[in-house]
């Protein structure tokens, strides 16, 4: 499989959907990929099955603030440095790249870097969506250490972090990222092919592309949201999916706490039933309740899309009056095990409730 120039807009749209409101606008990631693919050609995308158990798999991502990234854009050489630095620490040259998260801008970076370095990209990731913190991955849950962890900036300065655990690496890393200007490249979770097969979520790059294509195709035939749902039902992970609300945004509350955009978005039904849905978010959408009744919760996906075009709406772009549909979908079983729920279930976001899967809700 390949992701070509002509696929990038669909891929970016699918990534925005899997970003569940967070992860930043993938537009810049898309331009970065397109620039790299024009110059170096499209990279090969390989499945976890095809991956050599002895392969050296590296991640590449950006850490910082979307509002800074839109100003500094993407350098690229810093990403190569982060990977090279990590190689020199582990003593193992990278043989494949893989996204940490498949939502937002970070799903696109490994494609561009793989093109530049002539490496394949692994069709898998560690989040199956987007999450706000670096330790919230299946890699971490299933025993792949986050450290050693390299941060690099556009001056080609780099910092190596060897932390005691994922959560500590995240908080040290965030402090360093701030000092480095809040738009830095990171490479971490260096792993063997065998680790990736065990701890990675297979097929999520294909899924992002499929989602983007389903929305685009639905637009040509008149019902993008329905087409999207039909597609999700054919996927291995997201098949428990449904439209949980059709309404208009009537209230929006946002505040910044602990470096995150935390808030609540309220929608009112368009069918005059007065029914309301409340979605709480911490960059990404966390919990959706309709008239007090739980409809979906993290880590299951809660995505707000434009009701006419199916275009995913990021948390930053939510505004009063937007008519939207809310789509909820299941995540892979490996993201719903007790240890996974400990890492990125409701309690990891301060919501003192047990996780209930979407298929067990009505």
């Amino acid at each position: 499989m390949q992701i070509n120039l002509s696929d990038m807009s669909d891929f970016a749209r699918g990534s925005a959907f899997l970003g569940t409101g967070g992860g930043g606008d993938p537009h810049l990631g898309r331009l970065f990929c397109e620039t790299a693919i024009r110059q170096y050609g499209a990279p090969k995308v390989i499945s976890l099955d095809e991956l050599d158990p002895e392969a050296n798999v590296y991640t590449i991502a950006m850490m910082g603030a979307p509002t800074v990234i839109v100003e500094k854009l993407i350098c690229g050489d810093d990403a190569i440095l982060a990977i090279k630095k990590l190689e020199s620490i582990t003593g193992r040259p990278a043989t494949a790249l893989m996204p940490i998260e498949i939502g937002g801008i970070n799903s696109t970076l490994p494609i561009a870097l793989a093109a530049r370095l002539g490496l394949p990209v692994v069709d898998a990731d560690g989040m199956g969506r987007a999450f706000p913190e670096l330790q919230m991955t299946t890699f971490n849950v299933y025993g792949v250490p986050l450290s050693p962890f390299v941060l690099a900036d556009e001056h080609l300065e780099s910092v190596i972090i060897e932390a005691m655990d994922g959560k500590s690496a995240e908080s040290i890393g965030r402090a360093v990222a701030m000092q480095m200007g809040l738009a830095v490249m990171i490479s971490c979770y260096p792993m063997k092919g065998a680790d990736a097969k065990r701890a990675g979520i297979a097929g999520t790059m294909s899924a992002a592309l499929g989602i983007g294509r389903a929305i685009a195709e639905g637009r040509r035939h008149g019902d993008p949201v329905q087409n999207l749902l039909s597609y999700l039902r054919t996927t291995a992970y997201y098949h428990h999916c449904r439209e949980i609300f059709d309404g208009k945004i009537v209230d929006l509350l946002r505040e910044t706490t602990r470096g995150f955009s935390i808030g609540r978005c309220t929608l009112e039904a368009l069918d005059h039933s007065q029914s309301r849905m409340e979605i709480t978010f911490q960059n990404e959408n966390l919990v959706a309740r309709q008239d007090g009744r739980l409809r979906a919760m993290v880590p299951d996906l809660i995505c707000i899309v434009d009701r006419e075009t199916g275009e995913p709406i990021t948390t930053e772009a939510l505004k009063y009056g937007v008519r939207a549909k809310v789509i909820a979908a299941s995540v892979p079983p490996m993201m719903r095990t007790p240890q996974a729920i400990d890492c990125f279930g409701p309690r990891a976001f301060g919501i003192d409730e047990d996780f209930v899967a979407i298929e067990n809700l009505t």
Partner: protein, 522 residues
């Protein structure tokens, strides 16, 4: 509302649209005369005709005119149609950042060809808090300027990382280019856009490619007034409904890109006396719906594509729906109106004008809401069909209004534009429907009543300096900018404060946008 010149002086407002040039003569709050004439290719003849007509109608002497305000979509049209554009030297101050996404990366091929691909990347950038990220490489700027001269470029766009936070490097680079390449037109991004370097750079390049056209158009405005023996200064309205001088629009033509809809909304606010309302401007092809907040159009928070290029400059948040006097009415099964329209062919294709296309205008005539053409040509329409078509129109307007509402509270709806008669009954979601006099020339009136503004859009560290200090500093700076732009200090007030907390950034960093406006000193 206090107006420049006071009630004893006469002001002229002009709106140069794609089809018509409207002019209005105002004395204080009174509309003395108004006219509509066809827009001409040279712009100035159309303006001259429109103004001549109101002067003749009113008998007012040209020397009694104290100020002329012009709104125009001419620059937008020129860019979209790729007419009269200059090739541009694109100078980006960012290295070592941003290398992965070169300038013009997201421009359509034909647009790139129109402006050439003269790209120059040099070192120089700030951090989000204004700290230097990389020093400006002055030698590289000079070398770039020399190369631009060698290539015969006449216009340069300069964009730096976080230049809207701190413009110093852009200003210095501008000085160097001016020294090495005398006579070259220079566009600086911090004067044009806000956060988001790619979009700001795009807008700056768009501006630069219009440099030659803007010089000619501004000159032709002046000449049109001269030929009319109007000695008064003229101003041009910008996207947010405020004014800039001829000299400013010559340098920053891109700031007029959305002035058309803004002026009609501001005109609607003025004519109705309402400051918070929804405005629907119903034209021949589309209905533009926007929201007035404190007398100004609410701005769009998302990027706006113009000619296929993403921009982030100040634009009113407008929802355009395919509904107007020329909208085609279909009657097979459910009755539908639009979104397609016969457009300027209305006077040939509509039933009442002898054509055979059933349009929204025919429905209006059949329902007795408007008088035009030959009413007998629609007498065969069943009353039930007419009322169902009117209901479909009503539904479209209601849906657009509902979508644009800023809060759950119902707001008044102001109807302007030639197609306003199409809406006959109550609109759900509108507290009341207001149909002001002179609604047909609301845009020219919007131009005539414009004010001047100042704006600050920057990231502040609330945790360090506190919210009150940050708000105070930003407000004071916005007021100073309004005064610098020509506002009378005692009339300046802060009309808009927007706080956006930055995600993923600890330390209470908040992006703060403050806008102040005031009346023009005259």
């Amino acid at each position: 509302m206090a107006l420049p010149g006071g009630p004893e002086h006469m002001r002229i407002g002009v709106d140069v649209g794609g089809t018509n040039t409207d002019a209005v003569l105002m004395a204080g709050h009174q509309v003395v005369a108004w006219s509509k004439s066809p827009t001409t290719a040279d712009v100035s003849t159309g303006i001259q005709n429109a103004i001549q007509s109101i002067l003749s109608d009113s008998g007012v002497s040209p020397k009694d005119i104290s100020v002329v305000m012009i709104g125009t979509t001419h620059f937008t049209n020129a860019f979209v149609e790729r007419k009269h554009l200059l090739e541009v030297g694109v100078l980006r101050l960012a290295l070592p950042a941003a290398r992965g996404i070169p300038p013009l990366a997201d421009w359509p091929e034909e647009m790139k060809r129109a402006i050439g691909e003269h790209i120059f990347d040099v070192s120089g950038s700030y951090q989000y808090d204004g700290r230097t990220n990389s020093a400006l490489d002055e030698a590289a700027v000079a070398a770039a300027a020399d190369e631009m001269v060698r290539r015969g470029l006449k216009s340069v766009a300069i964009t730096g990382v976080f230049s809207h936070v701190k413009p110093d490097m852009e200003l210095r680079a501008g000085e160097i280019v001016a020294e090495r390449a005398p006579g070259v037109s220079i566009s600086l991004s911090h004067r044009i856009g806000r956060l988001g370097m790619l979009e700001r750079e795009n807008a700056t390049v768009m501006n630069a490619c219009l440099a030659d056209l803007s010089t000619r158009v501004v000159r032709s405005f002046g000449e049109a007034l001269q030929r009319l023996k109007i000695d008064a200064p003229f101003f041009v309205s910008q996207n947010d409904g405020t004014l800039m001088s001829g000299a400013t629009v010559q340098k920053y033509p891109v700031l007029t890109f959305a002035s058309g809809p803004t002026n009609s909304m501001r005109g609607a606010a003025y004519l109705s006396g309402l400051k918070n309302a929804i405005v629907a401007d119903i034209g021949g092809t589309t209905t533009d719906v926007g929201v007035l907040v404190n007398g100004f159009p609410r701005e769009s928070s998302v990027t706006v594509d113009i000619g296929g290029v993403r921009t982030n400059f100040r634009m009113p948040d407008i929802l355009s729906v395919g509904l107007g006097g020329g909208s085609i009415v279909r009657t097979g099964g459910a009755v539908s109106v639009g979104p397609d329209s016969v457009g300027f062919e209305l006077i040939r294709q509509a039933r009442v004008f002898g054509g055979d296309v059933l349009t929204a205008s025919d429905i209006a005539v059949a329902a007795g809401l408007a008088e035009m053409g030959d009413k007998s040509r629609v007498s065969d329409l069943a009353p039930d069909l007419v009322s169902r078509a009117l209901a479909a129109i009503q539904f479209k307007v209601a849906e657009a209004v509902d979508r644009m509402r800023t809060s759950a509270e119902a707001l008044p709806l102001i109807l302007v534009g030639g197609g306003a008669v199409l809406v006959s009954g109550a609109v759900p979601g509108a507290a009341e429907i207001v149909r002001p006099e002179y609604a047909a020339v609301a845009n020219a009136i919007g131009a005539a009543i414009a004010q001047v503004s100042g704006e600050v859009d920057r990231v502040f560290a609330y945790a360090e300096i506190g919210r009150d200090t940050a708000l105070g500093a930003a407000s004071a700076e916005a007021i100073e900018q309004a005064v610098a732009a020509g506002a009378a200090r005692q009339t300046v007030q802060v009309i808009d404060v927007e706080e956006v907390p930055l995600a993923y950034v600890p330390g209470g960093a908040v992006r703060l946008r403050v806008r102040a406006v005031g009346d023009l000193v005259h």
